[in-house]
Symmetry: C2
Subunit: 463 residues, 2 copies
């Protein structure tokens, strides 16, 4: 599977002068702007996060899918709006086809669902973690390649799926070791109900665009934009804001919403859904402090049609939502006549990792095998190999240093890599059958019989 | 993180006629030629394989890295030979840069290592699983997008790293549930030694190219090609073949090799390395039937300089090597003056999955949560939600059907999805506090107290 690499030099030994000449021809190793390498600590953390997420998704019956990185251009273009089109990596492939790299996992899922739903059946619950590409402006600290991790339930309009979506987010963030967070929920029908009452339906998009900035610019500027950009009257703008600014317990807010939206059939339906959603979430054991009704949440413009939500970390509200989504009427109408209503969310993998790092909740030590075995007695290579293999068969993760260097140099390496324990077996130890197990954090050492070593290490590493 | 999707229709209800009109404008959902979707069973199997591989890599102290899918074109072009260049997906990005999609994980690792080795230190042991792209001819049943999973130890010339590479492959294939396989090993220096003795050094590449076809075309055609394409004499060709065709136990072959290569210094060194490698592998507990010296293995042309190996499944030799690699003198000479010798291998993820499927060793049931809870009593939604949440908190994976349909339809769904157990709680059961746990494979049912349910299910699912 591995390609032969065409070497620049021939295979005869290279004299120093030639090596210098070659140095002049080196290609400068570098990544593209907006792209990045993951060194082991970052790659380990991301692996851990994604496998944690998978385990939670699976515990609710979600199953994985994958789709190609490249799609026919007509599948992708025009689906994410003008900005996505502009940011898309697109080209003509070697076979002359117009292709694009996926910029999210939603459009590929819509295409996938239209193609395979007959075979899959409904309801269908899938998760999908994958890389997406957007040629964004990198000045905002954004990357052009990043990972998403979506999960959706399609083929059902049941609120149970909405409630489960909240449960999944809740259990997932908790499984990441964070407990101070809040999923803010709303229902687009409640906003629609208000717009109907205020006769603002035609300017709904512009009003919502303004409302989405509430956290950033505050109520006065939002009201001003509603007037200037959406053509709302001062009174209409204030009414929208008074709804968006409702605060209190979920019960209080629900009660206050009634008179504001119940005149509209859509508004009343939205309110009933919200009530039922919150009741179901409570029944599933989600504490009220972590699921809060927030009428200012709108999430995008034209896509969501019912429940919407976003997830804010109590200790880091400024980084924005780490998991957002909502209910939609029809996932795949661009590709199929079959109606596929659903609800889902997208986990912001990189954003959550950045938050965990900032909060010091990433365990860097998890990035290597816990046990280090220095190669101490040069004549005993095979004894070390046998010992390490035995420890691995006992379920332990063990790194054996490949060269019989000085112990100090090897322990320095172990320290740099972050190992917890070193098993030191030298000439004397091989003869006596007793080795020394050194705790690399504290520097303390224990003497342990080689025969009992696996058990001792399992105990010490909690494996 | 989720984009608003620009919908084709407005948000008002769509009358049937308009739906028909819309249908005329649907975009045909399809994947690109040579690309494929992964439906849940295939995606689950791949996830399982990659996490199995990671666990084995980690148990030897390998750590993960990742690199971008896109690289500056000059990093990639000309590195994998003319065929790779032709097959590469390359284009001009929106910022006017010439870029290419990675076609393997070796070149990106070479670039990565040159950039970061100062920070990483040596020896450095990494694994990397990722997607690569090659615009290959799809007629041979090959895909243009596939996954690789490489692991390498760089910065050391110690044979310990070569031995460990064999151990990793061995433990990995075993962890996949296969025990009838063989890692075939050789050392390029042994072949070089023979070429020196036969004065064939200058035609080495062409001779090896011919030799690589031994399995496919047989010794006569290989000898003919050595003569016609490599300019070897009939006698030289027969001498090379007599070495390549050596058979017997590792000990017998080693012994027979001596007189053939020991006159050459390189040949003698290669033989000593092979001897030491096999001895170390035995010390690490690898059975001889799974590590066989095979002097016909050459693996590519110019890249490998010492140990080479490939892995063949006893039950499916025809699919070719599922894990191949070897030792090289210098990983990153194209990008840096620092010499980075190393040894590594690439796991053919898709090939191994295809083999496991053909051998019936993939557990399709692993693709969903084991426990299904039908939504039976429509008035008790919240009780079901509470019960399922409780079971999940007890560590069980549970899917709750989102709609209160007829039980038959729900069990049909469960059957199709491959659940093992259904927990049936209807009106009567909620009242009596006793539910029914149905084994979906056998059709048998047990009555279980709701209070004991978690424990009963843990027992039945072995969780």
């Amino acid at each position: 599977m591995r390609l032969a690499i065409v070497r620049l030099s021939n295979s005869s030994p290279t004299p120093p002068l030639q090596a210098h000449d070659q140095a002049m021809n080196k290609i400068q190793p570098r990544t593209l702007k907006g792209f990045r390498d993951f060194l082991p600590p970052a790659a380990s953390s991301r692996e851990w996060l994604i496998s944690t997420a998978r385990e939670v998704y699976r515990s609710f019956g979600f199953v994985p899918i994958d789709t190609p990185a490249l799609e026919h251009l007509d599948i992708l273009v025009g689906k994410g709006g003008a900005e996505s089109d502009k940011q898309m990596y697109r080209f003509t492939d070697p076979g002359g086809r117009e292709v694009g790299m996926r910029f999210d996992l939603t459009i590929p899922f819509a295409r996938f669902a239209s193609q395979h739903i007959g075979e899959l059946g409904t309801p269908f619950k899938r998760y999908h973690s994958g890389t997406v590409w957007r040629g964004e402006n990198t000045q905002r600290g954004r990357y052009r390649e990043f990972m998403q991790c979506d999960f959706d339930t399609i083929g059902t309009t049941s609120l149970v799926a909405d409630i489960e979506t909240l449960q999944v987010i809740h259990d997932l963030i908790l499984a990441c070791g964070l407990d101070d967070f809040c999923v803010r929920v709303n229902n687009r029908k409640v906003l629609t109900g208000l717009f109907e009452r205020l006769e603002l339906v035609d300017s709904a998009s512009a009003v919502l665009r303004a409302l989405d900035k509430l956290d950033k610019v505050g109520p006065d500027k939002v009201a001003a934009e509603m007037v200037s950009a959406a053509g709302a009257s001062e009174t209409q703008a204030r009414e929208v804001l008074s709804l968006a600014l409702l605060e209190g317990t979920n019960g209080t807010v629900l009660e206050a919403l009634g008179p504001l939206v119940n005149q509209s059939e859509t508004g009343a339906a939205g309110l009933a859904e919200l009530q039922s959603l919150l009741q179901g979430a409570a029944a599933a054991g989600l504490p009220e402090k972590r699921v809060r009704l927030d009428v200012s949440i709108a999430r995008g413009l034209d896509y969501y049609t019912g429940t919407v939500f976003e997830t804010i970390l109590g200790e880091l509200p400024g980084i924005g939502s780490i998991c957002s989504g909502g209910r939609y009427d029809n996932l795949a109408e661009l590709y199929t006549k079959q109606r596929l209503p659903g609800v889902g969310a997208s986990l912001g993998v990189d954003r959550l990792l950045a938050a965990l790092e900032e909060l010091g909740r990433l365990d860097q030590r998890a990035s290597c095998a816990p046990i280090f075995v220095p190669y101490f007695d040069a004549d005993r290579r095979d004894s070390y190999l046998g010992l390490c293999a035995e420890l691995r068969r006992a379920g332990l993760a063990v790194e054996f240093y490949p060269e019989a260097k000085k112990l100090g140099a090897q322990l320095k390496y172990a320290d740099r890599r972050g190992f917890s324990l070193a098993v030191i077996v030298g000439v004397r130890e091989w003869e006596s059958g007793i080795c020394s197990v050194k705790n690399l954090a504290t520097g303390e050492s224990d003497e342990v019989q080689l025969a009992d070593l696996a058990q001792d290490l399992r105990h010490k590493t909690g494996q």
